[in-house]
């Protein structure tokens, strides 16, 4: 990694870091190379925020209500600023914001199991026992490297069980997991004084030197030193402030909601501003086999303010054109209401909201049968096509093939572009 501030002094980045941390000078380090952090609008490198609704949200209680029908349940609809589009009345704030994004009401998949559905919706591929596909975020981190970003380029906020994986791109592209975005980051503070940290690192150099003898090539491949250096860089980086949500005004924090998910969305915006490529924020609790309506009401109370604040913030800061927002879960829920007032898994005709990052806006794709008789939605959209489109718009060659460890070339996505979302049809 080049270090523009000290072009010819012949000292390594690590020495600089060590020196600066020793002297308490970490503020002299550049926050971001160039002006990437400040660039706005279309000029800005692109990123993705995934709002992951774990458990499978009901399309009928979110973006595709059918009030007054047999399947509609108690959920009512409200109008939005997209002419003709009504969403569940649990989302009054989103009703005012959703025109900046698009709604897809006809996603189809064949995966009705949580684990398999999550895999498909994170990667765009159905599970394959012979290899692990990278998630959208991992592909972005891999394909769109960014100089000067000292914190991980792919971050997962909230419950981590479904955090995206690097898969065949390598573990180093796994999402960096932050379980509770409202609490200080774990393991980024040295456990000892500066002087002793120095001694520890100098010991490490001596040990590594001995081990390198006869193992230079093998050792380089482990990325051991590289990871330690990057971890040290991260530990002293001013960019870690992106996680310090206390810096935000009270009113902003209140608007997002003072809960793990709301805070996560706010941190996500701060991370994107810092130059992170992909952020996942997880909200769980959607698996409403019983008491579907209560569960969705409670979750909407968290999702609506956080999502709407995020979209507003991105717009006001001129970041929406460079930042895609995708709000989705592993599948939808059955039109039929079961005897426990619940809805079960439903992988055909489920909904998502997606927009920003250069996509068209204000579109509604597909429709479901208000009577719930037809399984197939009108104008079905395959998950892989949506993901090909997302990658394409974010500047990744979606059909580029990578060689996998099992020697089988694999495209980032096998989908076809959804021309309408690109604003072309």
């Amino acid at each position: 990694m080049s270090f523009p501030f000290f072009p010819s002094a012949g000292i390594t980045r690590r020495e600089v870091l060590r020196l600066s941390s020793m002297l308490g000078l970490s503020f002299v380090l550049p926050a971001l190379e160039g002006r990437a952090a400040e660039a706005r609008g279309k000029e800005r490198p692109k990123g993705l925020i995934l709002l992951w609704l774990a458990g499978g949200p009901s399309q009928l209680e979110t973006w595709d209500p059918h009030p007054g029908t047999l399947i509609g349940g108690e959920t009512q609809a409200i109008r939005t600023r997209i002419p003709g589009l009504e969403i569940a009345d649990l989302y009054p704030q989103m009703a005012e914001r959703i025109h900046s994004l698009n709604v897809i009401r006809s996603l189809v998949s064949k995966e009705g199991d949580h684990e398999r559905g999550t895999y498909l919706l994170k990667t765009g591929y159905r599970p394959d026992p012979t290899l692990t596909h990278p998630s959208l975020g991992a592909i972005l981190a891999h394909e769109l490297p960014r100089a000067g970003v000292e914190i991980p380029r792919y971050v997962a906020l909230g419950p981590a069980s479904s955090a995206g994986r690097g898969g065949f791109l390598g573990d180093e592209y796994d999402a960096f997991k932050v379980h509770d975005p409202a609490r200080p980051l774990e393991n980024v503070t040295p456990a000892t004084s500066r002087r002793r940290q120095e001694r520890r690192l100098s010991n490490l150099d001596v040990l590594e030197e001995a081990f390198r003898r006869g193992r230079r090539v093998q050792l380089e491949r482990t990325l051991h030193r590289d990871t330690i250096d990057r971890a040290l860089t991260m530990m002293t980086s001013a960019q870690l402030r992106a996680f310090e949500v206390e810096e935000e005004p009270q009113a902003v924090r209140d608007a997002y909601g003072r809960n793990a998910f709301g805070t996560g969305c706010l941190v996500a915006r701060r991370l994107i501003e810092t130059g992170v490529r992909a952020v996942e924020v997880t909200l769980s609790g959607w698996d409403s086999h019983a008491n579907n309506f209560e569960a969705h009401r409670a979750n909407a109370g968290l999702l609506d303010p956080a999502f709407a604040s995020l979209v507003r913030d991105l717009e006001e800061r001129d970041l929406l054109e460079s930042t895609m927002v995708l709000c989705i879960g592993e599948f939808g829920r059955t039109p039929k209401i079961n005897p426990l007032a619940g809805r079960d898994h439903w992988p055909t005709g489920f909904s998502c909201v997606v927009g920003g990052g250069g996509l068209a806006s204000g579109l509604v794709l597909g429709e479901t049968d208000p009577e719930g008789r037809k399984t197939e939605p009108g104008d079905p959209v395959e998950v892989k096509d949506l993901y090909a489109t997302i990658l394409h718009v974010l500047g990744v060659e979606h059909n580029k093939h990578m060689m996998t460890p099992i020697g089988r070339p694999m495209a980032f996505s096998e989908g076809r572009l959804l021309e309408r979302l690109l604003g072309k049809a």
Binding site: D113, E115, D128, P129, T130, T132, P152, G170, D171, E172, D174, F176, K177, E186, N187, V188, T189, P190, A191, T192, R196, R199, R200, L201, N203, L204, V206, L207, E208, E209, A210, F211, R213, G214, R215, R216, V217, Q218, L219, R221, T222, L223, H224, R225, T227, I228, R230, A231, L232, M234, M235, P405, I406, G407, R408
Partner: protein, 539 residues
């Protein structure tokens, strides 16, 4: 009133007693003085098998013009063995005993010693179980999986022949609690339905080392399989039912839905080769079990030889571990045939297989080599002429940290408290360090969260803290000289002595240090050791 007061008095007393016990157990001299010699016959038979394996490698290396690495130091081999068989590094106590042992065939005897330790059965069962029942940890799966691993560990301890273990997994009937082998089947139950395809795919991958679920890109005979043949194999599981008496076989046909016509078709069980191996008796699963484990089914013994090789080296002989090339034909044989044949002739004894691999030349070679060229090294590695660097699995990492931090051996004889600490810390750490699931034998580089965890995590901070129980504290307190102290830390952490440069580097730190400064120096040494690549990568 009296009771709480009594408790106030008893609890500290109990803690004090526990502490005394701990200290006493840690300070006492090594328990078992010697590791017994191998019986002559066993020793000669092992030597013959190893000889054949070595001859095969010598031939390969000669033909490719490769100069293998030097033979590794015995202590380094002991470290590899401990990591592979117990999931941890040798304790200072074990190292001292090993070094005092000067009788012949030391490594062979110690391999057997490690295999006879209960820690082997427990650890190896867990490693093998990944290929049999996966690594998933769903809330219901976890209990069945634990029961399965426990059962497998018992089989390893009793030296149940591997073919019999596999037959039980495929064909056993009964409740998952009472007949734990049935959890091979229950692991493939989703939404109360048995997934016959998953069972067929897993059986062939785990037991025969073939991926039939991926026919797109390979050109061995399995790749020529049609959907039909896969379904025929799945049909062997088509009569399995889950009932009140657990897993059982009922009458009934296995049907699949035709994708075009959406009509159901009955599929009869059939195997792709060796049809007469299955016999006619018993349930479908019993026939499949006989076919899989038939002595003439070379793929069976080759698959386990490849897997055990992988668990010993961290890399399978053929990668990926469950997608082997066809067995050589025309009377030819390769390494897997050599190992497989020996394994079969020794009653499918997994320990025998491990002993042969552990004594083979590739396992004894150094991980360092004088060649420094990437392409040449890749060739050396591909032919096992140098020992590969492989990232420690999370539980090996934590096992190694905890073991290094405790002078005595942590095993089933350890004090309950120490074991409990290990248990709880291990789970959290494995979670944070990231498990590799079923892909564990593929190449993995280090990650930033791992580096952060090692450098700044609570676990490392706690175990290196100098206190009367940790080696950090005890080595500082008990080692006579600075030199002895440095040496003890190196042995406890890296299973080797310091080089001259290292010795000087650390000695300089001691200088005229006061006692508190000394313990800080030792604590820092431990930290550096835990973060060194030599510690975090098997070599």
């Amino acid at each position: 009133m009296r009771l709480p007061r009594l408790r106030n008095f008893l609890v500290p007393l109990g803690v004090a007693a526990a502490v005394c016990l701990l200290v006493a157990s840690a300070i006492r001299m090594p328990r078992v003085p010697t590791v017994p010699a191998l019986p002559d016959a066993a020793s000669a038979s092992l030597a013959r098998a190893v000889e054949r394996v070595n001859a095969e490698f010598d031939r390969q290396w000669r033909e490719s013009g490769l100069t293998p690495a030097q033979v590794a130091d015995d202590l380094q081999v002991l470290r590899r063995l401990s990591l592979a068989l117990h999931g941890t590094i040798p304790s200072l106590e074990e190292i001292r005993r090993f070094e005092q042992d000067t009788a012949p065939a030391r490594l062979e005897r110690w391999t057997r010693h490690l295999l006879n330790d209960r820690r082997f059965a427990d650890y190896f069962a867990e490693r093998l179980a990944r290929s049999f029942v996966g690594a998933e940890t769903g809330q219901f799966i976890v209990f069945r999986r634990d029961r399965f691993v426990q059962w497998l560990s018992e089989q390893l301890q009793r030296r149940t022949p591997y073919d019999s273990i596999v037959r039980q997994m495929i064909a056993e009937e009964g409740l998952w609690t009472g007949e734990p082998a049935t959890n091979f089947i229950t692991a493939a139950v989703a939404n109360e339905e048995i997934d016959e395809n998953k069972l067929a795919g897993r059986s062939v991958r785990a037991f025969l080392g073939q991926r039939i679920d991926c026919a797109q890109c390979h050109d061995h005979p399995f790749a020529d399989w049609k959907q039909e043949q896969f379904a025929q194999l799945a049909a062997y599981f088509g009569q399995v039912r889950m009932s009140l008496v657990g897993v059982e076989d009922a009458a009934g046909e296995f049907t699949v839905e035709d994708r075009e016509t959406l009509e159901k078709r009955v599929i009869s069980p059939a195997v792709p080769f060796g049809a007469d191996w299955q016999g006619n008796e018993g349930t479908r699963r019993e026939r499949l079990a006989r076919w899989v484990t038939h002595p003439e089914n070379r793929r069976f013994e080759r698959a386990i030889a490849n897997r055990v090789w992988g668990l010993m080296f961290g890399r399978p002989y053929f990668d990926p571990v469950d997608d082997l090339p066809d067995p050589p034909t025309g009377g030819e044989s390769d390494l897997l045939d050599l190992l497989g044949e020996d394994f079969r002739n020794h009653n499918y004894d997994l320990r025998r297989l491990i002993e042969v691999i552990a004594a083979s030349r590739p396992f004894r070679l150094d991980s360092a080599h004088s060649l420094d060229d990437e392409a040449q090294l890749a060739q050396l590695e591909s032919q096992w002429a140098v020992f590969p660097l492989v990232r420690l699995r999370p539980e090996q990492m934590i096992g190694a940290c905890l073991q290094a931090a405790s002078v005595g051996t942590i095993d089933r004889n350890s004090h309950l408290l120490v074991r409990l600490i290990r248990f709880f810390r291990e789970r959290d750490f494995v979670e944070a360090y990231g498990d590799l699931g079923e892909d564990e034998l593929q190449d993995h580089a280090g990650t930033i969260p791992q580096a952060l965890l090692r450098m700044n995590g609570k676990l490392v901070r706690e175990v290196i803290e100098p206190n009367p129980f940790s080696s950090s504290g005890r080595i500082t307190g008990l080692a006579g000289s600075d030199e002895a102290c440095i040496e003890a830390v190196f042995l406890a952490c890296l299973t080797r002595r310091p080089t001259e440069t290292e010795r000087k580097h650390f000695l300089a730190q001691f200088g005229a240090a006061t006692p508190p400064q000394r313990s800080a120096i030792v604590e820092d040494m431990f930290w550096s050791m835990f973060n060194a690549p030599e510690f975090a990568w098997n070599h």
